[in-house]
Symmetry: C2
Subunit: 440 residues, 2 copies
């Protein structure tokens, strides 16, 4: 284990909200993000309880000294790219420093002026994303979706050998809270011989974990699996909104395109890999008879082979539920420990052909479905292609998303003997087709 | 027609090489690019004959005045993004100004110091590319490839309705001349039940036209087809290098990924849409019985429905051919007038779901194959999946690319009554697997 004193469950912060049971942002978390307030532009910050520690203000107060001076310079940027490009050792050093500042009473008077209430801040995209890659790493998701579209052959022959992925759209990645306009597109409804153009009738969410690249590799120089996690800065939540009817008509032979590119929502706080250290777990046990992965996908140590146990949930609130003051209904709970491929395998595969990843690149897991019915990470699976609609507490039914529906993802890590940490939330409300609602 | 005096075939430049027959860069072209010399960083320039007009130097010399002052400021950047973001009217104004400077003897003494020989400059990527989209717009290419893999159903039912495309990899886009390391990857050779990992044995080129976006659209606000070309800055050549054996094993169900993401080469000079004005043509006539496109893909004027007649060729020189001083062998000649979908249709489709395009985005056409055997734009088609190898003048055979092979694309526009213009060249040499050859 690679734990240090920052993971000590007995540590308490002088920021009292950070010590409350169940907070996503205790002293043991310290996720990084970019926020904006009316009196200052976008800048880097750290979530602590219900506050944000303004890292630019820390730099201006001269708090980054000695070996942290590079970190201070990087925190002057309006995105986290320069900071995470410093690499994992620098992020770990920053984490240790932040943990000290936020618990030691002696320094409180110098640090406290840099705290901002989260309620008064607007979160922005944490990084400038160069490329966005979406994997398909849940065997359960791939099997469920495959059995709907290809009952005779739910899993294609490549699935258990290849960490399947496709390139997603970067321009339409938006921050949690951005309204999502229902996309229009070509579909060929059942029984039609010709396609029609109009608003999607099968709008869906996909519950995913995002991985943000800290340091990249040079073109033509693959990243070996044993070193893959050195290149990871942290994780966030991803909602890969999907128009299933558009997808079904367009996706062959080159994969999903407009069915996904209208919007992808990410959560604002990047939880670092160091914060996740206590919540690592063994990779999913491959079902009996599954082939061994090829050598480039096999880590040489148990440490490099580890998976992540990030518990994910998706909740939905319709417009009527909000009017009736009903809480959002949890539709599914899952965990990234159910993924067939680890983050290390994804990165080793992605770069195995020499492809370069860059600081700020986003890799998403694909829908994180688990083995049970209530751990399916999208409506396509939860309602079995719309044939088994879900009942909402208002009496409404949901086969796919309706206008006004708000979808909220949450992520949390818990383990006995440790303080649980959270990823915050990833939220988006569906607006009617034609509403120009977007914008990062 | 939207011709102006810059297209006048009688114009001659005081740069004598610009008046030579067959030059790619006469006074009627004026393509934009980014170059670097030992005595100065990357900066914007215009190709004229065998020279480059240094636009930063023009700005420093105070040549951009009045309504061109924004252009002068934008030319201080190391990429063309700021310049092309000014929009087509600004690019047209710049073109008219450049045409005047380079032909009027009165101003020659002020402009000439800003000329740099192309032979002394290194070309860089012209723009920072946010997203790269690759279409599949040649019916001939789609039919040929489809008939190899699905003899019973060469064209899928969506092809004649949907301008099929997928997201490509941005990080590995490199400038012409960058060596291309042969990628390794998973393949399942014929007769094998399990995949193997190793260097691709079916490396291919794809002859494509690239379109660079000048001005983008807001998220959730589609670009109507009649206004699509307002958003285009210009075109270049694209080699979408492809590992066919990796592609065949990985591409289902989410499309090509590592088979394409190891490298994509673009040519350095962006030929503006204004320069292409004389070379517009009617769109490809749809074969008898083909469905009409849906309304959002139908332009309301003949002008907005036009295609481009850019003539493309691909030539190959093996290492032995170079040793024997044989010229590169032209393998195929085609034209973008053979594309089933126009640039306007691509942009209207791409944004029809609300997806935003941004300044500097690259849209590529897909392999530009024509109707004849000698107009096929990739080896997969030219050698019919390797079953009909090509003979080189040295007696060598080529089913797919070998190490040391250099592939050169050229593009040209010709029309009676006009001075022909060229796109320059897009060149790349294949290096052995494992050579860390890349880098933009």
């Amino acid at each position: 284990m690679l734990l240090d004193d920052t993971h000590d469950p007995h540590l308490r912060s002088w920021v009292s909200s950070a010590n409350e049971a169940g907070t996503d942002f205790p002293l043991q978390n310290l996720p990084l993000g970019v926020f904006e307030t009316p009196d200052g532009g976008a800048r880097a910050g750290v979530a602590i309880g219900d506050r944000i520690l303004d890292l630019r203000a820390c730099d201006q107060a001269g708090l980054f000294t000695g070996s942290l001076s590079d970190v201070g310079v990087a925190c002057r940027e309006a995105r986290l790219n320069a900071l995470i490009a410093l690499g994992r050792p620098a992020l770990r050093m920053l984490r240790q420093q932040l943990s000290g500042w936020l618990r030691e009473v002696a320094i409180r008077s110098r640090v406290e002026p840099a705290l901002v209430p989260q309620s008064g801040a607007i979160m922005r995209l944490p990084v400038q994303i160069g490329d966005y890659t979406d994997f398909y790493a849940s065997l359960y998701h791939a099997t469920n979706v495959g059995s709907m579209f290809r009952p005779d052959e739910p899993l294609l022959p490549n699935y258990k050998h290849v960490p399947i992925a496709y390139h997603g759209r970067t321009s339409s990645i938006v921050i949690s809270g951005t309204p999502i306009a229902r996309p229009s597109g070509q579909t060929r409804p059942d029984g039609y011989s010709e396609p029609v153009f109009g608003p999607s009738r099968r709008l869906d969410f996909e519950l995913e974990l995002g991985v943000l690249v800290g340091t990249g590799n040079d073109l033509s120089v693959p990243i070996p699996i044993d070193r893959a996690e050195e290149h990871v800065a942290g994780v966030c939540l991803v909602n890969d909104w999907s128009a299933r009817d558009i997808q079904q008509w367009e996706y062959q032979p080159l994969g999903p395109f407009l069915s996904k590119s209208f919007a992808t929502t990410i959560s604002p706080w990047m939880v670092t890999l160091d914060a996740l250290e206590p919540f690592r777990c063994a990779p999913m046990k491959r079902p009996e008879g599954d082939p061994d992965p090829l050598a480039y996908l096999v880590a040489s140590s148990a440490e490099a082979a580890r998976a992540l146990d990030v518990r994910l949930e998706v909740a939905l609130a319709s417009e009527r539920m909000r009017q009736e003051r009903q809480p959002a209904l949890v539709l599914a709970r899952s965990s990234t420990r159910h993924l067939y491929w680890t983050v290390g395998q994804m990165i080793a595969h992605h770069t195995s052909n020499g492809c370069n990843v860059r600081t700020g690149d986003l890799l998403a897991s694909g829908t994180v479905s688990g083995p049970t019915r209530d751990s399916r990470g999208c409506l396509l699976e939860l309602t079995w292609r719309g044939t088994q609609p879900l009942a909402l507490p208002t009496g409404e039914k949901r086969a796919f998303l309706e206008d006004g529906d708000e979808v909220v993802f949450r992520g949390r890590c818990e383990k006995d003997g440790f303080v649980g940490i959270g990823l915050g939330e990833c939220r988006g409300r569906v607006m009617p087709a034609g509403s120009a609602a977007g914008g990062a």
